[in-house]
């Protein structure tokens, strides 16, 4: 990591952690919801569901878990860190000033994304630990080996996709031109789609390991090509209202 990113990251983190009380309360609420809802509601639902659609319900419950946990975390942390984002003009001014210093737009966006990850990551790790427990409690028919695969996929796929989704979200909220914002938003939804299809993958994974390899390969190709495209595209002019 170059020196400029370290300095930017330190600044983003110090700004972010000013809101630590609100972050903590929100995280506790989110954790509670993400634990209580799947374990109680879905367990009851699975019990009363015919066995042929049980697997779909399990997939849905995993996606629900991701939805409840991931999206609010990314949005909330982004909001706490970059309140300016919701006032595009203000964000444009601070970034414009920053870009007049020896810093690139890529470094600024990366530092912001890393700061979000740095704060959200502990909660994501916690989620990875409680995730198998929730699964075992919710779906007692799951074996431990299946749960292990679920957890590994969660760490290998969900977390990187979450990071990339955050960068795309920042791009969507930061850029001025409608076309760049639209591209970022479409990419964001693609990445979110990939993230939520992890639930489906996790279901398949218990049946066919080759499909996991394919899935990871496809994700890597899509994410890398989107990443390169956006990285090359990001020019200071995108955030400046002249």
């Amino acid at each position: 990591m170059n020196e400029q990113i370290k300095i930017l990251l330190k600044k983003e983190l110090s700004t972010l952690l000013r809101n630590k009380r609100i972050i903590l309360i929100t995280m506790i609420v989110l954790l509670s919801v993400s634990v209580v809802v799947p374990t109680y509601v879905f367990r009851e639902m699975v019990k009363s569901t015919p066995s042929d659609i049980q697997s779909r319900l399990i997939e849905f419950s995993i996606n629900f878990y991701l939805l409840v946990f991931m999206i609010p975390i990314s949005l909330f942390v982004a909001y706490s860190a970059f309140t300016d984002i919701f006032y595009r003009e203000k964000l444009s001014k601070t970034i414009t000033t920053l870009l007049s210093a020896p810093v690139t737009l890529q470094e600024v966006l990366l530092a912001k994304a890393l700061a979000i990850i740095a704060v959200a990551y502990p909660f994501l790790i916690i989620s990875s630990i409680i995730f198998p427990i929730i699964l075992k409690v919710t779906f007692p028919m799951f074996s431990f080996s299946m749960i292990k695969i679920y957890t590994i996929l969660h760490l290998v796929l969900v977390l990187p996709l979450f990071l990339f989704g955050t960068v795309l979200l920042l791009g969507t909220l930061t850029f001025i031109s409608k076309s760049a914002r639209l591209i970022n938003l479409i990419f964001f939804f693609i990445v979110m789609g990939l993230m939520f299809s992890v639930g489906r993958l996790q279901r398949f994974a218990t049946q066919n390991m080759t499909s996991i390899a394919w899935y990871i390969a496809i994700c890597a190709v899509i994410v890398t090509s989107l990443g390169i495209g956006i990285w090359k595209h990001a020019h200071p002019e995108e955030v400046i209202t002249a």
């Binding site: 300095i7 600044k11 700004t15 001014k93 000033t97 210093a101 200071p236 400046i240 002249a242």
Partner: protein, 311 residues
């Protein structure tokens, strides 16, 4: 290294249907304080944006320190930016940060070591009267104080080139004076200054070279004295009697002086390089009695008005 710090050639930039810059060219020499004037929308801020590589020009070239800005790779551009201190019209301050944190953050971004950065921040807050506000979040400061924080940020790394957009906005006369002193001091230390301003008094006091922009082109330029000489000066002559006035009008017009206005007992003569003693010599040798005279020296404001009103 050449003596020219900024060289802009035939720069053009448009936003949709608005031509912000229509082919401007200018040069700023080492150690010069260059003042760029012009009404709102003249293209000054766009020029600064392009100078800093923040905006892409449609055509033309920009050289900073003998380096073409738009053909530089990221590393070269970053090296270039390390030499420049910038104050943009929109301050873009991080309001939750304290004055100290903010200045330290920028000092480190500009490559100062931690210890040097600390010393420099202390020096800057002292100069700009922010010592007591060091620990205050920027969002809680007054407008003038925020402006001082932004100026301190621009000067924090002793830049070789200072680019300032409206530096004295929101500053009271005391801090305007302090700013002028700091700019003159920076110039004495070899810093080149490129500033855009609406504060004509400030420009007149500190700038060596002035350019006036309008509608995306440079309408007038030159060293301050040279620029002012290019504009018409006026002399008012009061006469003792009406007959003296009538006689003087005929004499002056026949000697190719331009009488621009006439009142009951006075005439106003206008012209470039107009000399009072020449007028008086003509009048006295022809027996015209002059009661009083008044020379109206051309100020930068007159020159500015003349350029802007001709648009």
């Amino acid at each position: 290294m050449s003596d020219k710090i900024i060289v802009i050639k035939n720069l053009k930039k448009s936003y949709k249907e608005v031509n912000a810059l229509r082919g401007i060219s200018l040069e700023v020499r080492r150690g010069q304080i260059f003042g760029l004037l012009g009404p709102n929308g003249a293209g000054k801020t766009t020029t600064i944006g392009i100078l800093l590589g923040l905006l892409r020009p449609d055509s033309g070239s920009v050289m900073l320190f003998d380096q073409e800005v738009f053909y530089s790779n990221t590393k070269q551009l970053q090296k270039l930016k390390e030499k420049i201190g910038v104050l943009l019209e929109t301050l873009g301050l991080y309001e939750p940060m304290t004055v100290y944190e903010y200045l330290m953050f920028y000092a480190r971004l500009y490559g100062l070591l931690e210890s040097t950065a600390k010393e420099r921040v202390c020096e800057m807050v002292e100069i700009f009267g922010l010592s007591e506000k060091k620990g205050t979040p920027i969002g809680k400061l007054s407008k003038g104080m925020k402006q001082r924080v932004a100026i301190a940020r621009a000067l924090i790394h002793n830049p070789k080139l200072l680019i300032l957009d409206e530096p004295s906005t929101s500053l009271d006369p005391v801090w305007q004076r302090c700013l002028r002193e700091q700019l003159i001091k920076a110039k004495a230390n070899g810093t080149t200054i490129f500033m855009c301003s609406h504060n004509l008094t400030e420009v007149e006091r500190i700038c060596d070279y002035v350019a006036i922009m309008g509608h995306g082109v440079i309408k007038a330029r030159g060293e301050l004295k040279e620029l002012l000489n290019a504009f018409e000066k006026q002399i008012t002559i009061e006469f003792e009697t009406v007959s003296d006035l009538k006689k003087a009008e005929i004499l002056l017009e026949s000697s190719n002086f331009r009488v621009v206005s006439k009142q009951r007992n006075s005439l106003v003569v206008a012209g470039r390089n107009l000399k009072l003693h020449q007028l008086l010599e003509i009048l006295y040798t022809n027996g015209v009695k002059v009661h009083d005279t008044k020379e109206h020296f051309v100020t930068l404001e007159d020159a500015y008005w003349s350029v802007v009103s001709n648009e």
